[in-house]
């Protein structure tokens, strides 16, 4: 026996159900947020005062910028005839000094991490745990042995038949023969080899051979660039820890460096991205490009560059004319800086 419900009672009951449900369902979403004042400046990380470069110190001007067309460009070198070699993805690309891509693109078995141009036009390529040599046609002519456990190659250089490998994984330098066999290792903290030891907190560990016959190695955790004999004995070094422009900033810098034709040093720092020039004794001289030139929009860079979630470094090289070549890993471009003309 069905009893008719009056329309008013039906609507009233329905509204009641909705109201009760709404009230009950809001128990947590409507929890009152404790009124808190905004954070004051003590809670703000601010390094903006270091992101502006004194214009008087900027003695270089950007002349050219061209794309690498690589998704993840990683390593850079300048070869014979000032050709610009860029490694990334699983490719090695060569550009002429004006940025025109040459025909040769070498396909690699894995992502290249370091490049070392050889005198005959071949190039030694550092892969994660080994290196390979490719001739002008792109054929692999030498393959090193696996260099050890936890090896992470970040830089290569050579003097004669000796190849120097910077291994950020084990924080040491590996000496190899041209045939790819390991000769010796040095520089590890606690190795009792008479060296100060390398502090390498992040996978940035660069080296190069100087014309004066020394092996120069970045010691980023100590904010220094150090000189070693080719058999691995510490000789000298320079560099100081500082946020200001004369020093090396952050936890671990410089991340890359190169030598100009006259022996001066070009350094690249991460975090506070800046490329600077030091004289042959390590005295600060000038700025090639500061953070405001290198990273115009950090948020855009963060999104553009998969490795830019954390402090990212930009590899540097120098050509025979003293131009500074920068691999911008955020925009994936090559950027070339030339010294400003002196005013008459």
């Amino acid at each position: 026996m069905n009893k008719k419900i009056p329309r008013r009672e039906f609507i009233g009951t329905g509204l009641g159900v909705v109201a009760a449900a709404g009230l009950a369902g809001c128990d947590r979403s409507e929890r009152q947020r404790a009124e808190k004042p905004p954070l004051d400046e003590r809670f703000t990380y601010d390094i903006s005062q270091y992101e502006r470069t004194d214009p008087a110190l900027l003695r270089y001007v950007e002349k050219t910028q061209f794309p690498t067309d690589l998704d993840e460009p990683k390593c850079l070198a300048v070869g014979a005839g000032d050709t610009i070699l860029v490694g990334g993805d699983r490719l090695l690309k060569t550009f002429d000094r004006d940025g025109k891509l040459t025909a040769t693109i070498i396909r690699l078995p894995e992502k290249p991490l370091a490049l070392d141009p050889l005198d005959d036009g071949a190039i030694r390529v550092g892969l994660r745990e080994r290196w390979e040599v490719y001739d002008k046609t792109g054929a692999a002519t030498v393959k090193s042995e696996l260099l050890g456990e936890r090896v992470y190659i970040t830089a290569l250089a050579h003097s004669g038949a000796v190849v120097f490998v910077a291994d950020a994984g084990n924080r040491e330098i590996i000496r190899c023969g041209a045939d790819g066999k390991v000769i010796s290792r040095f520089g590890k903290v606690g190795a009792n080899d008479g060296n100060p030891g390398f502090a390498v907190p992040s996978p940035y560990f660069d080296l190069c051979v100087g014309a004066e016959g020394m092996l120069w190695i970045a010691n980023p955790g100590k904010h220094r660039i150090e000189a070693y004999t080719f058999d691995g004995k510490y000789e000298t070094g320079w560099g100081e820890t500082a946020m200001n422009v004369e020093g090396f900033c952050g936890c671990c810098n410089p991340v890359y460096f190169a030598r100009l034709p006259d022996g001066r040093f070009v350094t690249s720092e991460k975090g506070l991205n800046r490329v600077k020039v030091y004289d042959v004794k390590g005295k600060f001289e000038s700025v090639v490009a500061g953070p405001e030139q290198l990273v115009k929009d950090r948020e855009m860079a963060r999104k553009a560059c998969t490795n830019c979630q954390v402090g990212f470094g930009m590899p540097v090289a120098a050509d025979s004319r003293g131009r500074v070549v920068v691999l911008d890993t955020a925009t994936r471009d090559i950027r070339i800086f030339e010294r400003k003309e002196k005013k008459a």
Binding site: R31, R33, F43, E299, G311
Partner: protein
């Protein structure tokens, strides 16, 4: 009003209340809020937007990513007077990071969670210069799992989402990104 009508109305209201209370819980059952560290921009709102007096968001440390730096930019002021534990050198305004010597020149850093307010100042310092091993996570021993997380509503990069309660934390690592 007749007694029967009154009781019927009350029962209906009760049923509605039960359904209303259950529906959001059913919707959110098995999930919790969490921050995607790869989207986080360390804006500081986690410290002020949480409904709790002391935010449920804390800094955590991925030790396998850490460089164990002597000059840790998550621990030290950008231009410290000295590389020691003096208060004037410390970046964290609440002193929530502990520095321990491991071996020359490496140090280990631990978060003292009761002191951490989730401001992300250290996260920004670590990520700007270092390996990004410090990052923010919502701690589920504190979080009350609001239906609508007030931090998520305010989060500029939309980095806070519901995740399965069986996997309540993002583990930041060198290998991959989410």
């Amino acid at each position: 009003m007749k007694r029967r009508a009154f009781l019927g109305g009350a029962a209906t209201l009760g049923l509605g209340a039960i359904l209303g209370a259950l529906f959001p819980r059913l919707r959110t059952r098995g999930t919790v809020w969490q921050i995607d560290p790869y989207k986080c921009t360390y804006c500081g709102l986690c410290a002020t937007e949480c409904v709790l007096e002391l935010s449920a968001v804390k800094c955590v440390h991925a030790f396998d990513m850490c460089g164990y730096c002597n000059l840790c930019t998550g621990y030290f002021e950008p231009q410290p007077v000295g590389l020691n534990t003096g208060a004037e050198n410390q970046l964290c305004p609440t002193g929530a990071i502990e520095r321990k010597f491991i071996e020359d020149p490496y140090f280990e850093y631990h978060i003292k969670e009761p002191l951490c307010v989730g401001c992300a100042k250290c996260v920004k310092g670590c990520t700007t210069f270092g390996n990004g091993s410090l990052y923010l996570q919502i701690r589920h021993d504190r979080c009350v799992n609001c239906n609508e997380c007030s931090i998520a509503s305010a989060c500029p990069p939309d980095a806070i989402h519901r995740v399965p309660a069986s996997q309540p934390y993002f583990r930041k690592s060198q290998v991959g990104k989410s």
